[in-house]
Amino acid sequence: HFPRDLKWQTNDVTFRIVNYTPDLEKSDVDRAIRRALNVWSDVTPLTFKKLHKGIADIMISFGSREHGDHNPFDGPDGLLAHAYPPGEGIGGDTHFDEDEHWSKDSSTYNLFIVAAHELGHALGMSHSTEPSALMYPVYSYSTGYPLSEDDVEGIQALYGPNPNSRKVKPKPDAPDKCDPMLTFDAATELRGETLVFKDRFYWRLHPQIPEPEQVLIKSTWPSIPNKVDAAYENPEKDLVIIFSGIKMWALNGYNLVDGYPKYIHRLGLPKSIRKIDAAVHIGDTGKTLLFTDEEYWSYDEATGTMDRGYPRSIEKDFPGMNDEVDAAVYHYGFLYFFHEHVQYEYSYNSRKVMRILRTNSILNC
């Protein structure tokens, strides 16, 4: 909340859209604003009445640079929008930077998501430190229900719950890297860094920086799904391949490669395979191992074909390992397999498990 827990003294708040961005149809703007207000009215007794002239509690407008409130915007990116806490005059007013491009999808800044955040301020919410919260200050595109537990608790502390509607199921918070039961969705190298994917987030591990950085997948790659199944780096091609369901994306550094997504069956996997659990490239052999359920496949990067005689059993070929794999990376002759909350350090040369560690020991826990 803002200092003194600023809030509207009535539950019936008025709003007015003073002008419109040329980036979207007027009806799209109206819809985005109404949806954003509904996010908050769904969980409180608040109601929002639209005015078409005169002064409303929440005056919504689009402007660029200095736009009349001595809090200038800064051109494209950077500051996207701002809003004032509840109160007389400018209180509650919400301004969007017209130098941004506003969209109704993930292509540029999604107006609904930014409006839901800014209208949270207009109702008395301040910023959240929870990366998964709607009121987190940094923009990130995501689909699905926008409010986290932190958001719901915050707004209901000001206005109480909605007496008429069922309890909503908030968006889950960010995964805790030191949760002893943490499991990984995927892991890969990327130009000397290690990326570990979990739910809608990934941790970025840099060899010289002990503390991993947690980032929303969508804030780096808006077009990649929120759930990554597997990933691997082919350093010879300077590419990282990301798998989700039956599709795969290619990254060159942090940029998406054109022509993707493609279907995983292009690699030579049978149509019966609907998901890859883990993937890892073995630099010494030029082979990429793809793990699905209790089996694995070997893909020859040079010829772009699946090796013959596969799939083979994981348990048989990697003695001492579990029979399924969540994620895998390869470092200097060692394969690191992650399965549930256990990490196996497997020597590729002597073909045996050398150490067993906790999964999140890689995250400086």
Binding site: L80, Y84, E211
Partner: protein, 80 residues
């Protein structure tokens, strides 16, 4: 020697960011290379907010985050 321009850009970006979002008082940022105690304290406050490693230095993670598109409302205190 001349200050490498990207260092100076980062310094100015950080100064503007901390003034806007963390209420760094004008004129109390010190000089690039000799940050004032105020400046260092505000960097730590921002690093704590974003759950970064609290170093008080303008390290890579901290600068990366300062460059992310975001809401214009400050992370601390009142906004009027």
């Amino acid at each position: 020697g001349p200050v490498p321009s990207e260092d100076l850009d980062d310094w100015l970006l950080a100064e503007k960011y901390l003034r806007h979002f963390y209420d760094l008082p004008v004129g109390l940022q010190g000089r690039r290379g000799e940050p004032s105690g105020h400046f260092t304290a505000k960097i730590k406050e921002m690093q704590r907010f974003f759950k970064l490693k609290v170093t008080g230095n303008l390290d890579e993670n901290t600068l990366d985050l300062m460059k992310e598109p975001r809401c214009g409302v400050p992370d601390v205190g009142e906004y009027n």
